[in-house]
């Protein structure tokens, strides 16, 4: 069965609205048909990944340029991190800088907000409960589906761009109420590192978990856990009992139940012998920065500490950021430890509190580091005195 298209969509497909919309609609129709979607629906916002010239390459730059030649985004659209902090570019290769800035200008010309963050939901782009959106960036997808109750499928950087240009996304999977029901129950019996817990669940299970905690995790904990799940597997949503907004919509009777405890996570930590420590995958919230400031207090930094956050959060935490920088902590926006080459070659052994960063930094493509995954407080104590 082919998907129903309105006359406006047919016109886009026929090229009446130009090349960009035509290419975008063609891709969305193919995607919708492959999922047997019955129709397309309007989206409220989009978030685009694949913003680094390093990953899209010359041909990717050309494609985005071609699509943007005669169209703009028609909904609020934000952008993922890029390869460097636009305020600190001294060490950046000139050609790479020029190409990256060209790509950013193309996005800007299309009307994309150059937020350069994986946490647009803090200040730039926060969807409402129940809203349908087309987001890329796995950690943001899981965050807004689970904690906000907005609805997005696991879009790629490119399909979210197509949706931003046309204003539509095919109606299937997580956009539909009954597909958001949990598939299994996870009982967490003791307080666990959120990154390790997420990595474990993502690796071992498929579908949507319904998580029962024996303690009360805050939003930052759930953000770290969700990001790790999205990295080690392809989970795009979870429910947390009594916490997330859709947890009580569905019956969990008869679902498979599993328990997780410390000993299940033993091999997810690594060697605690590191040269630098990195925080901010996903980008740090105001509260996470405030916590770091509190823990550091009067302590002296003895190992390099890197913090990654968004410009929006940084602007609201100016005093804290100044305090941290005076201590020698590097606080960066626009980029992160995974997509920027900053750490590569400089260090071999890195520590982080992020399961997602742990997952990617160990891979060859992102530097092949030895990584230790620990708790925020522990890592800060170990890198100061």
């Amino acid at each position: 069965m082919k998907m129903y298209l309105s006359r406006e969509m047919e016109r886009m497909l026929d090229g009446e609205y130009g090349v960009g919309k035509q290419m975008a609609m063609k891709v969305l129709v193919a995607l919708g048909d492959s999922y047997n979607a019955e129709k397309m629906v309007r989206i409220k916002s989009a978030h685009i990944s694949g913003a680094s010239y390093d990953t899209v390459g010359e041909h990717g730059l050309h494609l985005i340029k071609e699509m943007s030649s005669d169209c703009e985004v028609v909904v609020k659209t934000t952008l993922n991190p890029i390869g460097f902090d636009r305020d600190f570019v001294e060490e950046i290769d000139e050609d790479f800088y020029a190409k990256q800035m060209e790509l950013l200008q193309i996005f800007q010309k299309m009307g994309v907000e150059l937020t350069c963050t994986c946490t647009p939901y803090y200040h730039h782009n926060l969807p409402k409960f129940g809203e349908i959106v087309a987001w890329a960036e796995s950690s943001a997808i899981i965050y807004i589906n689970s904690l906000v109750g907005a609805r997005t499928n696991r879009e790629s950087g490119f399909s979210s761009l197509c949706s931003a240009i046309t204003g539509y996304t095919p109606y299937h999977s997580l956009l539909i109420e009954e597909n958001r029901a949990p598939n299994f129950v996870v009982k967490v019996k003791e307080k666990l590192n959120p990154g390790m817990l997420g990595l474990y669940i993502g690796k071992e299970f498929q579908g949507i978990p319904y998580i029962v905690f024996d303690y009360i995790p805050d939003e930052d904990y759930l953000k770290l856990m969700g990001a790790a799940m999205g990295a080690s597997g392809n989970i795009s949503m979870f429910h947390a009992e009594d916490i997330t907004p859709e947890h009580n919509k569905y019956d969990t009777k008869g679902l498979e139940r599993v328990e997780v405890e410390k000993k299940d996570l033993e091999d997810l930590t690594g060697n605690k012998d590191f040269e630098a420590v990195v925080f901010g995958c996903p980008h740090l919230s105001e509260r996470e920065i405030a916590d770091i400031v509190k823990i550091l207090g009067n302590r002296e930094v003895v190992k390099p500490i890197y913090l990654y956050t968004s410009r929006g959060v940084m602007a609201r935490m100016r005093r804290e950021v100044e305090f941290l920088r005076r201590k020698g902590v590097r606080v960066l926006a626009d980029t992160c430890m995974v997509v920027s080459p900053l750490l590569r070659g400089k260090y071999r052994k890195i520590a982080t509190n992020s399961g997602k960063a742990y997952h990617y930094l160990r891979s060859k493509k992102f530097g092949g580091f030895e990584v230790y995954l620990g708790n925020t407080e522990e890592l800060l104590y170990d890198s100061t005195r």
Binding site: A30, H59, L63, G157, F158
Partner: protein, 263 residues
């Protein structure tokens, strides 16, 4: 041979195929400037320009879409895509560069160099000069043992190899009927002594210009375990299922067994 699939991006192409059963990551697996396959696999080094590219499915970064576009950008377009699993990256990529794409095709039956007609409007793939034959393979089970049979010197294929009870599915019968008929013909056991434990998902075996579509069955044998074999077999044995790995069998017999028996 004609294989029906799911049409994803409409269109028509015919040409030689480059085929692998690997999942392909387009970001680092294909060089868009040359169309050469860089990923470690059985078709590493092949170029997909001007060919129909058949692979298990996509994997890896979603940025791979830009590499597919790159094939067009650098003038190295393949003629079409064939996959077993539908993958978003491949869907977007094929739509973007407007080449036909069909999925749900068992790619293990294709060989690099086959000449293929890809009709993604009607939803089929035709492999020229290759014939498809439907066959059944039955395993008889008694306790924790299964019976295997050694093909005699008088049969036309796979002489001397160990096998299940197999034979062609006739055009007017179901695979299950064919399985019962073959058991009756070859070992003289009637359906009253058999109860079906499991019928497995068919698998494909490519051998030269023939593709066997094999329907696996596992039957519980009631009564005595003495079996009378006919001219098609020279001997039979009752063995533990795991021991099958040690026998010289017809192609993919252990895989066939695994479709109906789990350890």
């Amino acid at each position: 041979m004609i294989l029906r699939g799911k049409s994803i991006v409409k269109g028509y192409a015919e040409g030689e195929v480059v085929a692998t059963t690997e999942k392909i990551s387009f970001l680092e697996g294909i060089d868009p400037t040359t169309s050469q396959i860089l990923q470690k696999c059985d078709v590493e080094g092949h170029r997909i320009e001007g060919k129909i590219f058949a692979f298990r499915g996509g994997r890896g970064s979603t940025v791979g879409i830009y590499s597919i576009y790159g094939l067009k950008y650098y003038g190295k377009m393949p003629l079409g895509f064939i996959t077993e699993y539908t993958d978003d990256i491949v869907v977007c990529g094929a739509a973007l560069i407007s080449i036909p794409y069909i999925s749900s095709i068992p790619v293990e039956v294709l060989r690099t160099g086959d000449f293929v007609v890809l009709d993604a409007t009607d939803g089929y793939v035709e492999v020229k000069d290759v014939i498809l034959r439907k066959v059944v393979t039955s395993f008889l089970k008694k306790g924790d043992m299964i019976a295997i049979f050694r093909r005699s010197g008088k049969v036309s294929t796979y002489r001397g190899k160990w096998a299940g009870i197999s034979g062609s599915v006739e055009s007017d019968e179901s695979p299950e009927e064919a399985a019962l008929r073959e058991i009756e013909e070859e070992v003289g056991i009637g359906r009253e002594r058999l109860s079906l434990i499991k019928s497995g998902k068919p698998l494909y075996v490519r051998d030269g210009k023939t593709v066997w579509k094999v329907y696996p069955f596992l039957w519980e044998l009631k009564g005595c375990d003495e079996i009378n074999i006919d001219w098609e077999h020279s001997e039979y044995r009752w063995i533990k299922p795991e021991a099958l790995k040690n026998y010289d069998t017809v192609p993919k017999l252990y895989e066939t067994l695994r479709r109906v028996w789990s350890a």
